[in-house]
Amino acid sequence: MDPVPPSDEVLMQRYAGGDAKSFEALYQRHEMRVWRFLERNVRNAAISDELMQEVWFSVAREAARYRPSARFTTWLFTIAHNRMVDAIRVRRPQVSLEACEFHDDPRHGPHAGAVAQEQAEALNRAVEAISAEQREAFLLHVEGGLTVEEIAAVTACSFETAKSRLRYARSRLRELLKEYL
C-alpha cells in the first residue's frame, strides 16, 4: 500500500494498465463531486443517474488516451460538461427547470445538526437561484477545482466571460447567503 494516497493521475495510469482497483479508488474519490455537479445543473435525479454512468463509462473507455499533462479533474469535468450539454439539448423538456424539492437525506436525518442542515438547504436554494451559466461556472470551480481559464475552455467562452460568470455567481450567492457567511 502506498504511504501517501496516489494522485488521480497515477490512478488513471494504473487503470489504463489494467488495474481495476485504481478506477474504483478514483470513482470513490470523485463520485459525489461529479454527482453534485450533474444534479445541481440538471435537477433531475434519474437523468443525472444516466449521465453519471455515461461520464464514468467514458472515463473507463478513454483511460488509455488520458495524458497526465492535463489534470484529471479538468478532464473529468470536461466529459461531465459535454454529457450534460448533450442531455440538455436532446432532452430539454425533461431537464427539469422547476425548483428542486429538498427532500430528507436518509444518511443524516434527525441526527444531523439543525443549523448545518438549514445552511445546506439555504445553499441549495441559492445555487438554484442563480443563472445556469453562472451556476455551471461556480460548480466547475468548487466541485472540479477548475481555474477561470479552464472553465473558459470547457464551456467554450472567453476568459473574460468565464471570469465574469464566476464573479457574478459568487456575488449573488454571497448576497443570498449573507446570514450564513
Binding site: 481495476a20 478506477f23 459525489m32 453534485r36 434519474a46 459535454n82 436532446v90 445552511q119 445546506a120 450567492l173
Partner: protein
C-alpha cells in the same frame, strides 16, 4: 446589472460554506448506477485494448455525434424518443409502445410488469423478425454512430428504453453493433441489469 463584474476576491468563506453544506447534499447516485460503472470499468480493465481507439480527441464535444444518433432515433421512432421522460434506474421500464394496456408499474408489482414487458418485447421482436429486411432502404442509417461509436440502439439500451430498443430492432438495427470500446448492446443491457432488454436483444440475434 452592472456592466463590470462585481469585485469579489473573497471567495473562501463562500467556498467553505459550500463544502460544509455538501455533506448534506440530499441525493447520491443509485446503487445500480454505481454497480454498472464499476462492472464496466472492471470489464475494460481486463481488456486494456478496449480502452484505446484512435481518431478522437477528448476535448472534442461529443454533441454532434450523439445528436446524429439521436436524430436517427427520432426520425425512425418519432419525437417521443427525445421527449420521453427518462425512467428512473430504480423502476423497471414500462411496456409503453409494445404493451399499451400495461398500467404504470406500481412499486409492489414491478416483477410482474417486467415480466409483461419481457413477454411483449419477445412477441414484438418475433413478429418483426419475420418482416425484417436488412437491406431495406434506411437500414444503414439505423446504425449511424456517435463520436463514441454508439448506435441509436446502444443509446436506447443505455437509457433503458425497451420500447425504443424494440422499435429499432424492428427497423433493422444491428443487435451486435459494438461501440468503439467493443461493448455490445447485449453487454450494456446486462451491465444495466435490464433483463427485458437482454431478452429482446437475444431474440433479435444478439450474441
Amino acid at each position: 446589472m452592472n456592466e463590470t463584474p462585481p469585485n469579489d476576491d473573497q471567495g473562501d468563506d463562500l467556498e467553505d460554506l459550500y463544502r460544509r453544506s455538501s455533506a448534506h447534499f440530499p441525493s447520491r447516485p443509485s446503487a445500480r448506477a454505481r454497480q454498472a460503472i464499476l462492472e464496466h470499468s472492471a470489464r475494460l480493465a481486463k481488456h486494456p485494448s478496449h480502452t484505446q481507439f484512435s481518431g478522437a480527441n477528448w476535448r472534442r464535444p461529443v454533441l454532434f455525434g450523439s445528436l446524429a444518433a439521436a436524430a436517427v432515433a427520432c426520425l425512425l421512432i418519432g419525437p417521443q424518443f427525445l421527449h420521453h421522460s427518462a425512467p428512473s434506474p430504480h423502476v423497471p421500464a414500462p411496456a409503453m409502445q409494445t404493451a399499451p394496456s400495461a398500467a404504470a408499474p406500481a412499486p409492489d408489482n414491478s416483477q410482474q410488469v417486467t415480466s409483461t414487458a419481457t413477454s411483449a418485447a419477445r412477441m414484438a421482436v418475433s413478429n418483426m423478425q419475420a418482416r425484417r429486411m436488412p437491406n431495406a432502404p434506411g437500414a444503414a442509417a439505423v446504425d449511424a454512430r456517435d463520436a463514441d461509436g454508439r448506435t441509436a440502439l446502444m443509446l436506447a439500451v443505455l437509457q433503458g428504453r425497451l420500447d425504443a430498443v424494440v422499435d429499432l430492432l424492428r427497423r433493422g438495427a444491428d443487435p451486435n453493433a459494438a461501440d468503439t470500446a467493443g461493448v455490445t448492446p447485449l453487454e450494456a443491457a446486462r451491465a444495466q441489469q435490464r433483463p427485458e432488454i437482454v431478452d429482446a436483444l437475444l431474440h433479435a440475434g444478439a450474441r
